[in-house]
Symmetry: C2
Subunit: 419 residues, 2 copies
């Protein structure tokens, strides 16, 4: 009997290191004698449903190695969540049919909480229908909100980007503040949790350094108290650097980004927490302000990735193969922080059933009493995650990122009509 | 007689390499036997008017060397333009009084067009009042709009930042486009000229690569034609990446960033070309969009500076000392591109009287016929400017940027009341 193939898919918002996990999967599979080829879903799980499977055996060793330093999803990702088996059994049956047709015995799903939930459901369903597939979750999310893992690959590099950007922009504002810009607001990702904004706190090397104010979704936003803090900071430091989560919200749960009404055409406000905060400050305090929204730049910024994050992203991919070969199923690979003063980590695992639908919030102990800063405990947690630089190679002034051939294996099944 | 001192000041918006010019000035002055100390204006020319002069002799060799890789203005910059001599003779007299009190024989002004104009006026005035000061302009501006120099230190690094950001974010959108975000808009600096947005074009390595649309201030913005181009691009490539100058404007000269009316409080629109374009696209084409505004991040991004830009920034500072020692005055240092296929450059000079109040626009020959792209001639000009990486040293995961002592020399004059 030929060895079973691996099906690997990338899911949800991409990161600067998710391809490093893919690289870990493919290189480990190539080294192993126990598994067959690695087939990858074109555009994530949609590729499995549509039987659009990329054959990684056709990619050169060099190109696969380059995945390690190439940001975003090299095979395409997707925002598509499988419903429950009860609600949409057809999709699960289709997945198993595709797996069966292509001798797939392993399903590696590389994503956040929703993806881990899906992997868990597929594991159970495949058992129930008598075609057991070993399902392994590979963690990935810049939101850092998966439970049972010390951190989520993707987060450390965004954290490093945000800390570096805060340090650099902070120096800029400090230079200009005497006669010009006094306030700078940087908006970063984080709909539900403030992990990314919190990482900006790493930029401060001495007391009084930026960021002076961090706005977290975990802390109800109080405009009067905020404006007072801005005025105090400008009075004391001469300028004020603010880092705000996109998910910042008022006491009543309304998002700041949706708070400024409608534009002249009657459309909902163009949005952005940063411009909203700037408008408040200009109106009430009159300072000259600048603002930036880093959006995709932060999660695609492979050029300033954290070496620790890249190593962990690769390791969780590699570990998925090792776990599969060892007969494991229904588990997610985790990062375990080991005890001790020096930062050390290793990969571990946790049952998918425990991961599904649990969101890890930032502990209260990480947030300073006034809600605008990060405590020593928080900094101790964050600091190791941004260590080391892992520069991509450059050619003619630009990073050399790989574009794979992405050739599909021939289809064997009739077309599937998406339900 | 003791050797005359140099007065050096940073002016206007800072860049990631203006301190490299300061490093060039100070290191060259320390090597020279012909000049005295380098005194630097705290917060630019305001430091001269207020007699707040930083004594760089008190800074260690190591700290001065670190200026080469430290972004923004290490001594403070300012937005303050001296009026004409006729309009405000008092300020010029004050400058000369301060120069005389501190044995200053050289005035190096590191800035854009306005600063070169000021340096020229000071040169003439100092002659007229019998205390001739040798005035040398050191070019600096991310806007790349100074004439008679092939490029302006500061621009190459922003160009590299924007090209890298476009390449990385482009990969992100490409990964997501099948089921989610189809359009990404990156807003970059450039009020009057599109040099910075143009640099995004360097990111495209193959036909069809991002950026698909560049919005330049030089080309009147036509919403209908733009939306058609977006729709065509999405149809053809599956997604669309747009890079827009903050100075983008309609046929009638109105800025796009100011076009969306007022918010719920009656304040002028929060602004931003990127959210304005996104609103148009969502309303008319219905695509899911993302947008980023890089603002200060782009000009502070020393972590991804162009090695060519850093070398040129240092060289123009160093050259100012050499020109001063050679007896020159009333000139600005320039970068000259030498003929030949391989990029080679050297420093040159031009009379300040020719530089003052001349703004270099992007040549029409650099813009493609449809107004949305950059021609081969434009790419040939831009490409050498982003070559090479000049990474700062890192410590504990973050760039190690220097904070100088910035100690002022004792004042000798009565306080000056700013007019």
């Amino acid at each position: 009997m030929s060895k079973a193939n691996i099906f690997y898919a990338q899911s949800g918002g991409v990161t600067s290191v998710i391809n490093a996990s893919a690289c870990g999967v493919i290189e480990a599979a190539r080294r192993s004698r126990a598994v067959g080829r690695v087939l990858v879903g074109q555009n994530g799980i949609l590729g499995a449903l549509n039987e659009e499977l990329i054959d990684t055996a056709l990619e050169s060793k060099r190109d696969i190695a380059m995945l390690r330093h190439t940001p975003s999803g090299a095979f395409g990702s997707c925002r598509y969540k499988l419903k429950s088996v009860e609600a949409n059994r057809l999709e699960y049956e289709r997945l198993i049919a595709v797996f069966r047709a292509h001798d797939i015995g392993y399903f590696f799903y590389n994503g956040g909480g929703d993806s881990q939930d899906t992997a868990n459901k597929v594991a159970q369903f495949s058992q129930d229908v008598g075609y057991p597939v070993q399902c392994i979750g590979i963690p990935k999310t810049v939101d850092n909100d998966l439970p049972f893992t010390d951190t989520c690959p993707g987060f450390g590099s965004v954290a490093k980007y945000v800390a570096v950007a805060t340090e650099e922009a902070g120096l800029d504002v400090a230079s200009m503040a005497a006669s010009s810009t006094k306030v700078f607001v940087l908006e970063v990702m984080g709909r539900h949790a403030g992990w990314i904004a919190a990482a900006a706190a790493l930029a401060a090397k001495s007391k009084g350094d930026p960021p002076h104010i961090i706005i977290l979704p975990e802390v109800a936003f109080d405009p009067a108290r905020f404006l007072q803090k801005v005025a105090q900071t400008v009075a004391k430091e001469g300028y004020c650097v603010i880092v705000a989560s996109e998910g910042a919200q008022f006491e009543d749960g309304r998002f700041l980004a949706a708070s400024s009404g409608v534009d002249a055409f009657g459309h909902a406000q163009l949005g952005g927490v940063a411009p909203t905060l700037v408008e408040m400050i200009k109106a009430k305090l009159g300072y000259k302000c600048h603002w930036a929204v880093s959006d995709y730049l932060q999660r695609a910024a492979r050029h300033i990735a954290s070496a620790v994050d890249v190593a962990q992203a690769y390791a969780v991919g590699e570990a998925a193969v090792n776990l599969a070969v060892a007969g494991e199923s229904g588990v997610m690979v985790t990062i375990e922080r080991q005890a001790g003063i020096r930062y050390r980590w290793r990969v571990g695992k946790v049952a998918l059933s425990r991961v599904a639908n649990v969101e890890r919030k930032m502990p209260k102990s990480f947030i300073t009493r006034d809600g605008y800063g990060i405590t020593a405990a928080g900094l101790n947690y964050l600091k190791p995650l941004i260590q080391g630089e892992d520069y991509p190679p450059y050619k003619e002034g630009l990073p050399e990122y790989v574009r794979l051939k992405n050739q599909l294996v021939p289809k064997k099944l009739p077309k599937f009509k998406m339900p």
